[in-house]
Amino acid sequence: MLEIKNLHVKLEEEDKQILKGVNLTVEAGKVHAIMGPNGSGKSTLSYVLSGKDGYEVTEGTATLGDVDLLGIAPEERAAAGLFLAFQYPVEILGVGNMTFLRTAVNSLRKARGQDEMSSTEFLRVVREKAKSLKIDADMLKRPVNVGFSGGEKKRNEILQMAMLEPKMCILDETDSGLDVDAMKLVADGVNALRDAGRGFLVITHYQRLLDHIKPDVVHIMSDGRIIKTGGPELALEVEHNGYSDLIEEEA
């Protein structure tokens, strides 16, 4: 489903290479995890795939199904089925969460050649999905992410993920800043979306999220490369021994 080949990325503004040849394939129905020390390039990978400005791809490709992701605008990538749950969701004053969600849903449906969702249908679906994430009416009415706690922001990301029906979900440090209860809630939300047609790439620094979202494959990233790939046991190894052994082994 998601296929990344030999991806090299540098910063647009300075001569700094951040990704140095990433190869990765996520199949439909599978959950892949990327772990790695801070600064290894995990967020950069998620941003480059979603189309954020400021990065330059110097080599390599990234495709979602038969769509070449790197050549199109962020909203077109979203329409193609890519979804990024942000590490730091952005606050948008003066725009109600509900208005934002409806605009996003209908923009995507339009781009995908589907009819707009009627307001009643939209309300019904949103309420149902919000309920399972313990998102109350007040949170839906408030401006997007404004005054939300860390946990509320992350749950709000998962609600968006549920509403936008993506094929490929990338979660960037969705566990950061969450207590155990909040993490369980978020993990349940993600697990509810696991489906034979959908792929996941779960980026995390710690192993604990992977207790709740069980990965099929675990990758270790260091200095802009994937240095090791294995099964769920690789995450446990990191948990016990840290990253340094793996990085030394590689070097």
Partner: protein
């Protein structure tokens, strides 16, 4: 000191083009204003207070014509329960207006000759007080020559807002209107204004808010393109009173909105906010002067300007804290969102503080659309144009949120969205 000849000539030419209303209860105030005007002269391009805005078209003997603009939308505030009062090119329209009786308020016309005792004490008084330390001669001109307006005395909490609608039908109309609002102790009023008033509009509102009283004001100027307007609000606030005003300005070639507030009683609160939307031939000037002359008062100024295609925004805002006005909390922010490199924002924030126990802050910024926000919204599938519009609404939200009523906030936001939508390039 004698006025410079040019200034004197321009002032006399303007006066000669007008008829001084004679007789009646306001005659003394008008005569006094005319004398004051002759002493100061009308604003000229060299006046420091008019450094960023050219006053000529506001002071000329005759107005520049402005094409009558007929919007294809229902007028703002039409959907809400209100007492409606209509002025056409500055003249009261009896047929289009509601009956003026409402519990807790007396409303009369300035143009009526009946003696209004309470207004006699106020008309021109707050305007005169607001002439120091900076003269505001367009307001003095208005006190002398205003032909119509409303005299509103509020004695209770009103059950609905008073909504003044202005209509512009004559492309050469030159309206001069003067409202006086007196809110008595325990009174609370919301005044709404909307619509283009005339080709050229000179407006003064004097507002006296007694101890514990409340004044709320939401105004929308626009959407006509060729209008020129100079407005002044002069307010005096008693102890524990509330004064809130918000203005949305969409379009108009030249708008100068001055607000002069004096906090004279302890624990009073004044919030002055504005958002403007300018595209192309658009010059918008907010000039605000707040004087804290009592203890523990709060003032907030929040101004947001959205400018594109070479539009210009100006902000001159001053907080003056008098000796003894301890525990003053003064906040001032003025920001512009420049949607292209041709537009400009000129800001002159000032603080002058003569008390030691005060907290005052001010800030002014100019910037483009927020990149982080734009990426976030686009990553959710919103096309660039829609994403930019939402971020523009987010940009002005701090000002719109100064309106207490959610219903009125929604009314204003709907107009902002419509304005942006008409310009969306896809």
């Amino acid at each position: 000191m004698a006025l410079p000849q040019l200034k004197q000539n321009a002032t006399e030419a303007r006066i000669a083009a007008l008829d001084l209303p004679t007789g009646g209860w306001s005659a003394a105030a008008r005569g006094d204003a005319l004398a004051r005007l002759r002493a100061t002269g009308l604003p000229g391009a060299r006046d420091e207070y008019w450094k960023y805005t050219r006053p000529e078209t506001l002071t000329s003997a005759a107005p520049k014509p402005a094409v009558v603009f007929t919007p294809d939308e229902t007028p703002l505030f039409d959907g809400i329960d209100r007492l409606k009062i209509v002025f056409v090119d500055g003249v009261f329209d009896t047929d289009a207006s509601d009956d003026l009786s409402l519990d807790g308020v007396e409303i009369a016309r300035l143009a009526d000759s009946a003696d209004i005792h309470w207004a006699r004490d106020l008309y021109g008084t707050l305007e005169t007080a607001g002439q120091s330390p900076v003269p505001r001669p367009l307001a003095t001109l208005n006190t002398a020559f205003a032909t119509d307006g409303l005299l509103i005395r509020v004695t209770g909490k009103l059950s609905k807002p008073i909504a003044i609608r202005y209509e512009h039908r004559n492309d050469k109309s030159d309206a001069m209107m003067h409202h006086v609002v007196k809110v008595e102790q325990g009174g609370d009023v919301t005044i709404l204004e909307n619509g283009p008033a005339a080709a050229r509009f000179n407006q003064v509102i004097e507002v006296d808010v007694a101890d514990g009283a409340g004044f709320h004001h939401v105004r929308a100027q626009g959407r006509d393109h060729e209008r020129r307007a100079a407005t002044h609000i002069f307010a005096r606030l008693g102890a524990e009173s509330t004064f809130k005003t918000f203005t949305l300005t969409a379009n108009g070639v030249l708008t100068r909105n001055e607000v002069v507030v004096e906090l004279t009683g302890d624990d009073a609160m004044a919030h002055i906010a504005g958002a403007c939307l300018g595209d192309g031939d658009f010059h918008h000037d907010d000039t605000v002067f707040i004087t804290h002359d009592a203890v523990n008062c709060e003032s907030r100024q929040v101004f947001k300007k959205v400018l594109r295609n070479g539009a210009t925004g100006v902000f001159q805002g001053k907080i003056l804290v008098q000796p003894g006005a301890q525990k003053t909390d003064g906040y001032q922010i003025s920001q512009s969102l420049l949607l292209d490199g041709d537009s400009q924002f000129l800001a002159k924030p000032e603080l002058e503080i003569y008390a030691d126990d005060v907290a005052c802050s001010h800030g002014s910024t100019s910037g483009a659309i927020d990149d982080e926000g734009l990426f976030y919204l686009r990553a959710r599938g919103l096309p660039r144009g829609i994403a930019e519009d939402l971020l523009t609404i987010a940009f002005i939200a701090e000002a719109v949120m100064e309106i207490d009523s959610q219903e009125l906030q929604d009314e204003i936001n709907s107009r902002v969205e419509a304005w942006l939508m008409r310009r969306r390039d896809q």
